[in-house]
């Protein structure tokens, strides 16, 4: 797993934890929690997946360059 993917996952998790700590006492907390958690999951999963795909593609490119005479 690439460094960017790990940071994205950690930041997403930290945001979700913050939301669960701060929001529950508020009015309409259910909607606020759902909005923040869904957004955090969408953005973190995409960022995590993208960072992994870039890492894999870069490794593939350097491997091809090493093989090509």
């Amino acid at each position: 797993m690439s460094k960017g993917a790990i940071i994205a996952a950690l930041l997403g998790l930290a945001s979700i934890v913050l939301v669960f700590v701060v929001v529950p006492g508020m009015r309409d907390a259910g909607y606020i929690v759902r909005a923040y958690v869904i957004t955090a999951v969408i953005l973190a999963v995409y960022t995590w997946s993208l960072a992994n795909r870039v890492d894999k593609a870069e490794k593939g490119r350097s491997a091809r360059r090493d093989v090509t005479p």
Binding site: L11, V22, R27, I32, I38, L43, V54, A57, G60
Partner: protein, 255 residues
């Protein structure tokens, strides 16, 4: 006066970010990677700060209560959406003028990131609408034009997946991105042209200062997140594009 200066600063920052994304087509991979790291770090710091400001520091709104706090991710999502579709639009024009594949990679990447933020904007909007309007969704002009915008750019990405020839794909999808962008200003002005359920844009003069600062922080954070994602997606598109061109070259050579 202070608000005007801040508005100008945000506008200049937006122009710089969009200008940088368009310049990606001419940048070496190492420089782009450095840009992604800087944008990613700035985005992460500002998101943490913005979440604190929006969820803890900003006061409860008198009419809506706490559900208005969804705005701190709802409105910044539209900043990412507008930036994505605008970059896709300009890069598509640049591609048609120059036929430089780099601009096609920028356009495709920007459309994908724009659609990502469009999705978070729609979801957060629905979750704000339920406690405020009593419904998750209604066929209000703003909501309808936004849904059309999302469908158009989803169609743009599907179309790209169906065309194998890189040049034909870039040419056809550029036209779709240009036509699709026509809807973006319609979405923005829809709340003024058709005064229905969705309220018009707020002014910083009529909103409490901590609320404005929390919103500005999240807006800039999402702009940097957009930049980080766009550079990363562009790097992936460029590597895949090079592989594709190499495969075409080998196929021609073997015939």
């Amino acid at each position: 006066m202070g608000n005007v200066i801040i508005f100008m600063a945000v506008a200049v920052l937006t122009v710089v970010v969009i200008g940088y994304t368009l310049a990606l087509a001419k940048k070496p991979a190492e420089a782009a990677k450095r840009g992604a790291v800087i944008a990613g770090v700035v985005a992460a710091v500002l998101i943490v700060l913005g979440l604190y400001l929006g969820l803890v520091w900003a006061p409860t709104e008198r009419m809506m209560g706490d559900s208005y706090r969804i705005m701190y991710i709802h409105f910044p999502s539209w900043v990412g959406t507008a930036a994505g579709y605008l970059v896709a639009f300009i890069a598509s024009i640049a591609y048609l003028r120059t036929r430089d594949q780099g601009y096609d990679y920028v356009a495709a990447s920007a459309a994908e990131i724009g659609l990502l933020f469009n999705a978070t904007g729609l979801v957060t909007g629905a979750l704000w609408g339920r406690p405020t309007w009593g419904v998750y969704w209604t066929w209000d002009p703003r909501l309808t034009t936004t849904a059309i915008m999302a469908i158009t750019f989803a169609g743009y990405l599907v179309l790209r997946a169906f065309i194998e020839d890189p040049e034909a794909r870039a040419r056809v999808s550029s036209l779709v991105a240009i036509v699709g962008f026509v809807n973006v200003p319609i979405v923005y002005f829809s709340v003024r042209w058709w005064r229905t359920l969705h309220q018009v844009q707020s002014s910083p003069e009529t909103v409490d200062s901590p609320m404005v600062w929390a919103l500005r922080t999240m807006m800039v954070a999402f702009l940097f997140l957009f930049l980080y994602l766009l550079i990363s997606r562009y790097m992936l598109a460029r590597i895949r594009g090079e592989e594709e061109l190499e495969a075409v070259r080998l196929e021609v050579a073997s015939e």
